[in-house]
């Protein structure tokens, strides 16, 4: 009996961990996928923008206090700061390169990643940083006998909000509709009198905002450090690939697969937990090489 309860408890808390991890992965991969879909740019620097989001959250909470209003400000200002970085990158560099082939774009954004990493090292140094969320998001909420970490529950709310916001943006706003059109036929969008260049800038900025938001969201749960961009860029690229390139819902499903296989794998076979998501990716791609949902490519 007690054993059964322990198991239920362990599974539930791992589920919650997996789901909340999936939500952060979703926020980041939605941005990556959106940029990939609309601009056709595989942005290797996306992970670095996420890292900048986390460091920016650290600095903002350091300035305004860990509790109120620091954390909430960080949640808004850090993604905005990353969005500004994105706007500069897009206008100054990327906007001149859209005609290039994908390999060039990969190499180029890889270069941007290296530069951003060095800038982070110069700006924030190589030490580990951390922040704590405000009091009402720390500790656990006990439901039944189960302690559920409040911050994880908070992430479960944020993820769907971002998903719905993205859906509304893409389907209900003019610029969202234009970006869907530009994803498929940018030349024809230009013929309609729309300066596609600014549509791309907007799409890239939104992608960067999401990267920054993901970084700010993960900041209280991990140590903020150089190198945190590496795993996230790999994971989110795999997520976007199994979900279907450019498909926001695919990014959601891919993130859930990733987050849940990892956390439940921890229960099944702790030493190999990290392998589970990658095994899932391989299985998905064997079954559906173009991803689960429709790719816009």
């Amino acid at each position: 009996m007690a054993f059964g309860q322990d198991l239920v408890g362990a599974v539930t808390s791992q589920l919650l961990v997996g789901l909340s991890r999936a939500m952060i992965l979703f926020v980041v991969s939605a941005g990556l996928s959106f940029v990939l879909g609309v601009l056709r740019v595989p942005n290797i620097a996306h992970g670095s923008l996420y890292m900048i989001g986390a460091f920016a959250a650290f600095t903002i909470t350091a300035l305004f206090g860990q509790a109120l209003p620091g954390f909430w400000l960080a949640l808004i200002l850090a993604p905005l700061a990353v969005a500004v970085v994105g706007l500069i990158l897009e206008r100054a560099l990327l906007s001149h390169l859209y005609q290039r082939e994908h390999l060039m774009l990969i190499l180029f954004t890889f270069g941007i990643m290296l530069i951003l990493n060095d800038l982070v090292k110069i700006g924030w140094g190589a030490e580990y940083r951390s922040i704590v969320p405000p009091d009402n998001l720390t500790g656990s909420l006990t439901i039944g006998d189960l302690p559920l970490p409040r911050y994880n529950l908070f992430l479960l709310i944020v993820g769907p909000i971002v998903a719905v916001a993205m859906w509304l943006f893409v389907n209900r706003t003019r610029i969202g509709k234009i970006s869907r059109a530009a994803a498929v036929d940018r030349e024809m969008v230009g013929v309609l009198g729309i300066n596609v260049s600014w549509v791309f800038a907007a799409a890239f900025v939104i992608g960067c905002f999401l990267a920054g938001l993901g970084g700010a969201l993960i900041a209280p749960t991990t140590s903020i450090t150089l190198g945190m961009d590496r795993t996230v860029i790999m994971d989110t690229f795999l997520i976007v690939t199994i979900g279907g390139l450019g498909n926001i819902w695919g990014a959601l499903i891919g993130s859930l697969i990733f987050g849940l296989t990892q956390s439940l794998g921890l229960l099944l076979w702790p030493q190999f937990a990290v392998v589970f998501p990658y095994a899932a990716v391989v299985l998905v791609l064997l079954a559906r090489p173009k991803g689960l949902l429709r790719s816009v490519w």
């Binding site: 234009i178 869907r180 036929d185 030349e187 024809m188 013929v191 309609l192 009198g193």
Partner: protein, 233 residues
């Protein structure tokens, strides 16, 4: 309204247009006739800026617009309906029209979704259908409606009759004439010579990237030799 002066256009290294010149006056319907591969589409693409000519000039309302990007030309008042329609397949009919909507300071005759549906009722009926799910003929209408949403003064129609059933051809002719009656200027490329001659005021014939004949439709109708030589009719 539109003056094309001796343009030479290339696709990469292949030289396609050799000094094409033509002129379209306000309120006219002018057709550009020629067989497959003659250079009609390339001429249209050169005018709207999709493949800028390497030499020659394009004047729109007496201003040199050569080499301007398509979005600038569209904003100046040129609408373009490509031969392959290029509907945004994932967007609904209504969305296809909405994204093309552009404000204008023209007093009368502003195009909106309702007015487009009056011209092409089927687009109103299928407004929430995905563009990719329309028939070829419906996509043509949508492509024309989409171009109209930008409130152009000049519309370039690239082979609008191609692939349409005879009855549809007739009704599209009528709709083009209705557009002309609103004051819209039309440059039309066609292989369907009979249909084009019914609605046009003047015609140009293009062959191997060169304009080899121009005159009024009446003159062309009288000139059997030219029709036989270039148009096989």
């Amino acid at each position: 309204m539109l003056e094309v002066q001796g343009i030479h256009t290339f696709y990469g290294l292949s030289h396609i247009l050799f000094g094409v010149s033509l002129q379209v006056n306000p309120g006219e319907v002018v057709c550009l006739l020629g067989r497959n591969g003659a250079g009609k589409t390339t001429t249209m693409r050169s005018i709207i800026g999709l493949t800028a000519p390497a030499r020659g000039r394009i004047l729109f309302r007496d201003e040199d617009v050569t080499g301007q990007p398509p979005y600038r030309l569209a904003r100046r008042g040129i609408g373009y309906v490509p031969d392959d329609r290029r509907i945004f397949a994932d967007l609904t009919v209504a969305e296809n029209l909405e994204i093309a909507e552009r404000s204008t300071n023209k007093e009368s005759g502003r195009w909106d979704k309702e007015r487009v549906s009056e011209l092409f009722p089927v687009l109103g009926e299928k407004r929430s259908r995905k563009g990719g799910h329309l028939s070829g003929g419906e996509q043509k209408m949508l492509a024309i409606g989409r171009a109209l949403m930008g409130n152009p003064d000049l519309i370039l129609l690239d082979e609008p009759m191609e692939g349409l059933a005879p009855l549809m051809v007739r009704s599209l002719e009528e709709q083009i004439l209705r557009l002309k009656a609103t004051g819209l200027t039309v440059l039309l490329s066609e292989q369907n010579v009979v249909s084009a001659m019914r609605i046009s005021d003047r015609s140009y014939i293009i062959d191997n990237g060169q304009i080899c004949y121009h005159g009024t439709v009446k003159e062309l109708q009288a000139n059997e030799e030219v029709r036989k030589k270039y148009l096989q009719v």
